[in-house]
Amino acid sequence: MTEPVIVVEQLEKSYGAVRAVDAISFEVAAGEIFGVVGPNGAGKTTTIECLEGLRAADGGRVRVLGLDPRRDGDVLKQRMGAQLQEAGLPSRLRVGEAMRLFASFYTRPLEPAAILEGLGLADRKNVAYANLSGGQKQRLSIALALVGDPQLVFFDELTSGLDPQARRATWDLVRDVRAKGKTVFLTTHYMEEAERLCDRVMIIDAGRIVALDSPAALVHALGTEQRISFGADGRADEVLGAVRAIQGVERVERSAGRVVVYGQSDRFLAPLLGVLQDAHLSFHDLQTEQPDLEDVFLALTGREMRD
């Protein structure tokens, strides 16, 4: 077992009377993509800022790469990279200049040109920051977080404000970062992002941890049934018995023109299709519904996640 990259014990932070982070504890392992999700104001940014050393905690213990972010900030900052929410660059600074500038901050920087190439920014080298598109600015912020060759990278709301296509493209870039052996700690308020991107997800709400596990385990633990429904004519009644007998099927509901099959696993999809075909039953508009992290959040907090 290698040492955890991040160890947080009973972290507390208040702003006035508001408890932004309320005694949370967790660990992040090397090579993980670890995500913190929760609605706005849940304490995500406060948590990440305490880890980055931007903010002093009121209580608890924080170790990042074995270091105290406040006391050993100089050493830690050489080994971490960070993209911040709402942090810009001088509008007239060009992409290549920004990379050279940030590279000069680190003792062993990577070659800026190679990073820009990898992020598809090679042809933007001479473009001023103000003239970049939203997606390009975001990719540059990733590039700047990587130029010091960090072991650990922080992304705070990396994809907020991006269109869905750019968001998906950014996920691939984050996976690339991890593939290079780095640990990624990110925050997001997009449940889908956490589900698709993260190895483990910590759901927080009002400064407390609501759940912490892999997305699949969180969804599984919810125990919510999966649903497959399809439209069919009156002859569907003849096969209901056979459908109920399929392994994994828990119950079947018949409503006007539609059949809904409930179960714990989607393993019954193939047998179900087999039953329908054997009966030469024509069906249409087949839909599968699986619970996702949104449902997990709803079940655990009793509230909908709002963007």
Partner: protein
């Protein structure tokens, strides 16, 4: 932070400064233009009001004060607050860039910009009016450096307390422009009415102008020490205030 890191940052800050057309104009071209304008009006004939020197002979060193006050009280507070407002300072704080390195690089780049303005001013003064220079270059450079540092320190105080770039700009201009006219930087001290002269005695820029005019004609440091003392106090006090109250976000 290495020397290389410091020089890359200083160089970058300088380039960014030159890409702001308004900042560049007021730092490098404004004082020489003003000099030409007043030169056309007054010429540079020896005048007993100035102890036998010409109007331009005393104006060139006094205008150093205009450059210094522009860079220190307008350029630095605006740029620093903009950098804070856009989260640029915050972004630097999660890199190994040390606060001290940032300050040193920033101050160095403003000093270089002000120096470029001085070179342009002196060049125009020399070519157009053949202004007299009887001091020593190292002394003038030293006096200019002390004056610039003192005013950059005042600028950092404004940047520390201004809640936004807009406020920093307003405060900087409100402080800088009256000071330019009341301190003898624009209109020679000798020509100011006695009441204004008494106001001038309370303005730090007055001591910059006295120091630079003195050094320009070769007066010894031993006679200029009150100006040095005032500017040193300004530098130390404002430096301490900004060290205590400067905000990175």
């Amino acid at each position: 932070m290495t020397i290389r890191g410091l020089s890359v940052f200083t160089w970058t800050q300088g380039k960014l400064y030159l890409r702001e057309p308004i900042a560049t104009f007021f730092t490098i071209f404004f004082a020489p233009l003003l000099l030409v304008l007043f030169g056309l009006m007054y010429g540079n004939e020896p005048n007993e009001v100035f102890g036998g020197l010409g109007s331009m002979d005393v104006t060139v060193p006094a205008y150093l004060g205009i450059i210094i006050v522009t860079v220190g009280l307008i350029g630095l507070p605006i740029q620093t607050s903009v950098n804070r407002e856009l989260g640029i300072l915050r972004r630097y704080r999660v890199t190994p860039l040390r606060p001290l390195t940032y300050i040193v690089a920033d101050v160095t780049s403003y000093w270089v910009m002000a120096l470029a303005g001085v070179v342009a001013l002196v060049a125009v003064g020399k070519l157009a009016y053949d202004v007299r220079f009887e001091g020593s270059l190292p002394s003038v450079l030293a006096g200019f450096t002390l004056s610039t540092l003192a005013f950059l320190a005042i600028g950092f105080v404004i940047a520390s307390f201004a809640p936004s770039a807009r406020v920093a700009q307003t405060v900087g201009m409100v402080v800088a422009y009256p000071m330019m006219f009341l301190s003898g930087a624009t209109i020679p001290y000798e020509l100011l009415p006695p009441t204004v002269q008494r106001i001038a005695d309370f303005l730090p820029l007055t001591y910059v102008v006295r120091l630079m005019r003195g050094l320009w004609v070769g007066e010894p440091w031993s006679e200029l020490w009150p100006n040095v003392a005032v500017l040193t106090v300004v530098l130390v006090v404002c430096g301490a205030i900004s060290a205590r109250f400067f905000r990175w976000e």
